[in-house]
Subunit: 337 residues, 4 copies
């Protein structure tokens, strides 16, 4: 950590900063330049977190040198994390597509999506039983009944399932039904929920918050890992910007950035990332080209009557066409789907 | 709701849109222009929520006419909501200042802030017992012990207290201790938590999410109100933008905007809104000038050893000076503090 | 255009809105709903631009139905625009890569980039003679000498050239040297400059402004087209968001969005779009997968001594490797490079 | 400047960084920590600008210590800059309000605004003769005729005038008519225009770009100062964010931030900053409370027929009421209007 002092800082002010640094077992190294004096704090700067040095008189700014996360970092683990779920390797050479409806509405509706997506090459079935909805007046999901419908679809199709959990009180319940627990964007900093899923030995798909930096995203993954659960998949799903043509701005640069900083698999969700079905195919292809390990895609047999997210759902036929394109692009990049 | 059709839409596509609108009990009104045909859906368009019409073939875009929230809107209730807490009227002529440390650390530390802020004119004591922290490795709050310390400070000073609740499982507990339940920015869309505090008959301070629109903010307030709890205070605390000189960008325009759209009291938090103690005073003054009903200000007797948010905490003496300025500005605007 | 009236609007206020609409030759159509009355303005709503109806008493909001741009829109021209420059078709099946140094520094430096990029398959040479620099104290470009160096490189390599013009007074000069005139992001709304390049019969590459919406971007293209110059190429180069891991956030969704709204070719600049050479390859591949008609890539033989943008420049060898990958991905998508 | 090296950096890579630093006359100071080695570059780091060290192999990141601007900084000049224009001191104890129509339309229209704003206490008349418009199809201003109308209004009212210049070719012309040259937000990084107004010995009002950081804003002011013209006024006018209730988000925190970093006077434009006349008054008051030295406010006698920006223009009567409130708030803060 580098502490930049204000011009005109007093000896006494400087001494207090040094004292604080040394009180935590770090070494303070003073360097006087022509316009500024700086103090380097050498050692585990994470002990100096919480920006407290910024509140010392005479301090202009504090520049961290180290990353604040550890277990999920590439420095901590050089080789890629590969998870095995339902016999499928996630984070390896093969790219996985998890597809299905936004909300679970009925057995029939789920199967109408699940069967064709499996045939087209999807390896996981997605679907929401608990739905985080902006308005209290819209469909909130079927709850446990929805989980039961997903379990039925798994039994019929053999596809492993992924579904969202919203409430720390539901982790145990959802865990009993699902193969992967999903933490949605709105809950990326619901630290109590992160802690709960961290205690469960089941893979977690963590979606990036709507305005989360890459660093905050990895710190949220660190919450899960710090509880002992290292089976984490990251998912870029679009960030909030000023642009209104799309519901969110899919930040595909985050894919190679996360690959550098972390060993965890990274997925892309072009459905939420754009909010428009007609953009899902190009952005799914782009996600794979950017290096994603998998995709999360909303598919509904009848988007116009979907209880949520109809406008961003692909029909099964369009999904099948996309899968054919994805396979060719994956192959061109030395991977497979 | 106005449905704009694509140029070249077929009669059959148009008929399906009309059918959908009428199936929900609304009236469809077709209007053919030179370049576009539009359909007006007349009736309670909230029934058409979830943007499903956007997924119909032939539809270019859907423009809502009505607001999606109701109970918290100025249309639903014309006169301002005035809450009475601990004998204090919130939302009336008097502006309230709620001050105290970011985190509760000890009885002594809380009193060292509570006593001078009361003397300077603050009417509520703020302090966090449960802390939502970006990193799992930083101080997470004292939990129930912290609540107990706050209760002690209330007994000593007579100040009512406000403290944050993070977990739906803790609502009952926090409710037993506090006068106002605070929902933090990161939990503005934690719908399970909103639902729980909506079931409790105690005032709730709802902070705006870091990248929440005004509309989403009011929809989150609607979640609480829809459960029967109308004692809600809104709080602007800075939004995320590209600017890095400040931790967040305090969106003071939201104050008069919210005053127009809603009858609820609106507070401003210049401490989190800027992240820098040296900006708290000007932004507190600006918040009051913009029409806020109150302020939330972090005060710590020794910011340089605070366990969180030291850099944005005022020392008691600076807080007292600010209160004197605030009183003069409030008076110039026909209000009082 | 739909004019939504406030609840409680008076007959007189409504009459004034109608009068205004009709005074411009449009037809006003009133529709009374349960909660709101709306007025549809039927005809060329562009005459009602400038949002003036929003300032009428009794008006709540105004919702435009039509797009404010025309010549550059897909509605105006259904088929893709294909430009021919130096015998190369831009906007057709073949994807073009324009590569070279950020700044023109010397004959030798330009050739050290130009020769290898041509060999690797680039079809245009890029390089800046006039540089828009954030600080007045950094290298501002060689000016006409730089143009001369580019012309020399064209003579040697046969590559057509593209270079930026900053000043309306320089359009004539730059025009004499270059094959494509580039308008940089900072000048996307320099309307005087747009007007000048619109008067010249030479292709213009228009880069998206740092915080321009897609609609503003197309309106800037319309400025050029309205002067008679329809030879326009659009270029997505990253937008400003809160994320700091990358210099900008490359908005690849803008590629398919622009393809729908406009008939113009669209390029992607992954060098400026990320600001980091190690992200250029994945984002170039992603750009092509998203449907771009071409790429703009910074290449420098010695990035560590470049006078500008070293950190985002590829070395020739890495560029050649990228071109091989790009060719395979383009082919997988039915295109070629 | 602090250069943070990657873990595993080689001696040779480190030597090259040191060599580069020393080749520019700076001193390199190596400090080896447990997890990272860092190199401090001691001396005038502005020589190392352009981020070139980031492109060296083995470099993880580069952290600047010094500010990149100089002449406009508070370090360079401790006391506030006070400009005298038309006998009025700008930047001193008195707060100035510059008011008038967005566009100059006719002699009558300008006087209908100018006379009442002078009576209400405004000290400058604003009005645009050259208008930067997003669409090529909207009113672009009267040009020199508009300047002539402004000069006439000055003669009639005695108010000094401020008007925008868009084109480097017009600087000489506008200079002949106006008292203050305005650079609009879209031209904040039109460096050729900044250079031209820097050559003229007349005060310049520089508006913050729509997505400019505070640092970029000050660097643009530095462009003007570097040409010898130190008579600069800064103006915050709203930045682009995701929020759509307001046209821009007025960043009032920028006022105290700029006051700390620079000695220049700082104004606030609540008309463009919000885009809505009904928010102008609260945000004007908030701007003054935040410490602004002046305000820029759009006033039009008949906003509903204004050729531009009607929705954000105040009628003279509302402006007069606002001025009364402003005076009281200014007085409460120890200033005057």
């Amino acid at each position: 950590m580098i502490v930049v002092l204000k011009p005109g800082v007093t000896q006494q002010e400087m001494a207090k900063v040094v004292e604080r640094i040394e009180s935590l077992g770090l070494k303070a190294h003073i360097s006087e330049g022509k316009e500024r004096t700086i103090i380097g704090a050498i050692g585990d700067e994470r002990l100096l977190a919480d920006r407290t040095l910024e509140s010392f008189p005479g301090v202009e700014k504090v520049l961290p040198i180290l990353k604040p996360y550890k277990l999920v970092s590439r420095e901590f683990q050089k080789e890629d994390t590969v998870l095995v779920v339902n016999g499928q390797q996630i984070g390896g050479r093969r790219i996985h597509v998890m597809a299905g409806p936004c909300s679970v509405e009925s057995r029939e509706q789920v199967l109408e999506a699940a069967i064709p997506v499996r045939e087209a090459g999807a390896t996981f079935l997605r679907g929401g039983a608990f739905k985080p909805r902006t308005s209290p007046y819209t469909f909130q999901g079927l709850g446990e009944e929805g989980l039961d419908i997903l379990a039925h679809a798994r039994a019929v199709t053999g596809l492993a399932i992924i579904t969202e959990v919203l409430d720390p009180r539901d982790v145990e319940l959802v865990h009993r039904y699902t193969d992967i627990l999903q933490i949605g964007a709105r809950n990326m900093q619901n630290f109590k929920l992160l802690t709960e899923v961290g205690k469960v030995g089941k893979p977690v798909m963590l979606k990036r918050g709507m305005s989360a930096t890459v660093q905050e995203f990895l710190l949220s993954a660190e919450y899960i890992a710090a509880q002992g659960n290292r089976k984490i998949i990251l998912c870029e799903r679009g960030i909030r910007t000023y642009e209104t043509e799309t519901r969110n701005t899919l930040d595909l640069s985050a894919v190679p950035v996360l690959k550098q900083l972390s060993h965890l698999p990274i997925f892309v969700d072009p459905s939420h990332g754009t909010g428009r079905w007609d953009l899902v195919a190009p952005m799914a292809l782009a996600g794979v080209a950017a290096g994603a390990d998998g995709l999360l895609i909303e598919v509904h047999a009848h988007p116009e009557v979907a209880l949520s997210d109809g406008p961003q759902s692909l029909k099964p036929q369009k999904f099948a066409a996309l899968m054919r394109d994805l396979k060719r692009v994956a192959q061109a990049l030395g991977r497979e789907i």
